[in-house]
């Protein structure tokens, strides 16, 4: 298992390097310039000097090489310095945002908590809702519970989050006035009141995303469980006279979870990347919003770094999914 993991991680390196190059080229070829947000009144020679100062006019291989060096050497060194008080990164340039001229990683670290609390919580809630619904729907297929579950899942999966989000805002913020429509990042939780406020402003984005995630995962859970409940070994378990609960929740569920866990693990990177739309709708100041703004401003270092981090997460969770698969299914052995 360990050798398998090491081999997989080593194989991931060339894949990620190639991915980073593709991202870099794509971002670079895209129309727009870092000057697009600078007022038109700024004269051309000044613009040229700004571009020069940013290093945006250097040849592409130089810029890519520099980014690689900064991402893989300078940023980790800086992180070590922060943790252990060493001076490894002194005198080396970190990746800077073209928009704000501050280090990209610092901005990401600022935005990460919002994304994790709102979008992460939505994913966890979605999974926790989806599993029991999927299991019970499969246990009583075509019952009224299953029919309602199927309908809600269809709606949740097929209606885009920007629509459900806006509908919720219209209902709960505009008409009822119960919940704020804009997420306030400055809110600090200090006591009961601020906690209620925080829960209130998280409620809608979490609801929207949890519905979407639950819809998808509950369908996977249902079909997997339905398939498993018809297996011969479930009949064998029943024939041994153990209780129905043990038959379903032990014998069937343990098998049915194998593919579902993989789907759940593979879905985690989308927590970071896929929630971009929802973050925009509710003005949650997270990574998704950060990426959108960076794209609008042609902030190459920021776009490049964020996208690459998403790519790393996808590779990482693919590996985690494979490992979980091996743990859950004794027939799979990675050696």
């Amino acid at each position: 298992m360990l050798t398998y993991m090491i081999r997989r991680l080593l194989l991931a390196i060339p894949a990620l390097l190639f991915t980073s190059l593709v991202i870099f080229l794509l971002v670079d070829f895209a129309p727009g310039s870092p000057m697009s947000q600078i007022p038109l009144t700024v004269p051309p020679d000044v613009r040229a000097r700004i571009v020069e100062a940013l290093g945006a006019n250097e040849p592409i291989h130089l810029r890519f090489g520099l980014w690689l060096y900064q991402f893989f050497v300078v940023e980790p060194a800086y992180l070590l310095d922060q943790m252990f008080g060493t001076t490894l990164s002194t005198g080396r340039q970190r990746i800077l945002s073209w928009q704000s001229r501050s280090p990209v990683m610092d901005i990401i670290a600022e935005r990460l908590p919002q994304t994790l609390t709102v979008i992460g919580l939505a994913y966890v809630i979605g999974v926790l809702i989806a599993l029991p619904i999927g299991i019970y729907s499969a246990y009583r297929p075509y019952s009224w519970f299953d029919q309602i579950g199927t309908f809600v899942a269809m709606v949740g999966f097929s209606v885009p989050t920007f629509l459900t989000g806006v509908v919720l805002i219209v209902v709960f913020s505009v008409n009822l006035g119960w919940l704020p429509s804009v997420y306030d990042t400055r809110l600090r939780m200090t006591g009961w009141n601020s906690f209620v406020q925080q829960a209130g402003q998280m409620a809608m984005p979490v609801m929207v995303l949890a519905l979407f995630n639950a819809a998808e995962i509950s369908r996977y859970m249902r079909s997997s469980m339905l398939d498993t409940l018809g297996q011969d070994y479930v009949r064998t378990a029943r024939a041994t006279g153990i209780g129905e609960r043990a038959v379903v929740l032990k014998h069937a569920l343990r098998n049915a979870l194998i593919p579902v866990v993989t789907v759940i693990a593979l879905g985690v990177p989308t927590v970071f990347a896929g929630a971009i739309v929802t973050e925009q709708v509710f003005r949650v100041n997270g990574l998704g919003a950060l990426l959108i703004n960076a794209l609008e401003a042609s902030d190459l270092p920021m776009v490049q770094t964020l996208t690459f981090i998403f790519a790393v997460l996808i590779v990482l969770f693919n590996l985690i999914a494979d490992i979980l698969y091996g743990i859950l299914d004794p027939r799979i052995r990675y050696d």
Partner: protein, 336 residues
């Protein structure tokens, strides 16, 4: 088997219906049989004749819906299993009636090791703790002839061959010393040499443990070698029932005769093409009002189309105990 002993299992007038989208399917029609202590009853019939459905109806193993066990009585030591509560039924399954299924490749749970699967009924029915159950599981694996049993307890089903898995299945079924073992085509999915090994094992276990066995198969050769008594099923009903020697020597029902003719002979001249029974078994969408075999029967006459024959005794004895047959054509007293 002696006539007087009280049967361990007594099934009377069992009727099972499947409700499907295309209407009802009458899979089991008024099936009655009994099982004496220590006896091995062979049940033969082609696919779809209702053998497995009959046995699964006994202990509520059919998913309902679509299955509906409508009528009848299944008496196990005075308790009617068809009127038992789910809890009572669970206390019977695995404890007093053990089940071995056809396909050992899919009948064991792939994610639990075999020790775990054998221990489960032991802990449930016998109230054993982990240690005692593990000890008993080890004994059971040795009993069913799995070499190096102590080490193999922690192995998973995929690490066993088909024959070994079927031995594990038998160990699970026998875990709690059941009075009745129902084996639903346990050797069909195995190749012939392994099949012979499993047959030997069951014969041996039967002598050691003395349980009564219902052996479902469509292989008459297997029946001849192992059964005391044979019940032939067709179209969801019992068409003939007799002690094994009597049935092979003196088959009465045209279906039984046809079945016996289909067995290819190993010795002697080749007789050309293998014998077959032409046609398909019926799918009964209503309770039968005529003989289910009439369409394929060479001897069918007008009464066969009007009236479903009842089982009646051949020679001396009651229906179910001696030799009986459900056929209008068969003469009352045979030329044995």
């Amino acid at each position: 088997m002696p006539d007087g002993a009280l049967p361990v299992l007594d099934v009377k007038g069992l009727k099972t219906v499947f409700r499907t989208r295309g209407g009802e399917v009458h899979a089991v029609n008024s099936v009655s049989f009994h099982l004496q202590p220590g006896e091995l009853l062979g049940v033969v019939g082609e696919s779809g004749s209702g053998k497995s459905v009959t046995m699964m109806s006994l202990i509520g193993l059919l998913p309902s819906p679509p299955a509906d066990v409508r009528e009848g009585q299944v008496l196990l030591g005075g308790m009617d299993l068809l009127r038992a509560t789910p809890d009572q039924l669970r206390a019977v399954r695995g404890a007093r009636i053990g089940f071995v299924f056809q396909d050992p490749m899919t009948s064991l749970n792939p994610v639990f090791n075999v020790g775990n699967q054998i221990m489960e009924p032991l802990r449930k029915h016998m109230g054993m703790d982990r240690k005692a159950a593990r000890q008993r599981a080890l004994e059971l694996l040795e009993l069913v002839g799995i070499p190096d049993a102590a080490r193999r307890l922690d192995d998973f089903p995929h690490q066993f061959s088909g024959g070994m898995r079927q031995r594990v299945m038998i160990a699970i079924a026998l875990a709690c010393n059941p009075e009745v073992l129902i084996a639903d085509e346990p050797t069909t999915a195995l190749d012939v040499t392994i099949q012979a090994q499993i047959l030997e094992l069951v014969k041996e276990l039967r002598q050691k443990l003395g349980m009564a066995i219902v052996w479902i198969t469509h292989d008459l050769g297997v029946i001849a070698g192992i059964a005391d008594r044979v019940m032939v099923m067709y179209g969801g009903q019992v068409v003939e029932q007799a002690p094994v020697r009597e049935l092979f020597a003196n088959p009465q029902h045209p279906y039984t005769r046809a079945l016996l003719k289909t067995i290819p002979k190993v010795s002697g001249e080749r007789e050309g093409r293998l014998q077959v029974i032409e046609g398909q078994p019926p799918i009964l969408s209503a309770a039968p009002t005529a003989c289910p075999f009439r369409a394929r029967c060479a001897h069918a006459f007008d009464r066969c189309h009007r009236e479903n024959p009842q089982r009646r005794a051949i020679g001396a004895g009651r229906v179910g105990y001696g030799h009986d047959v459900a056929c209008h054509w068969t003469p009352e007293v045979t030329h044995a």
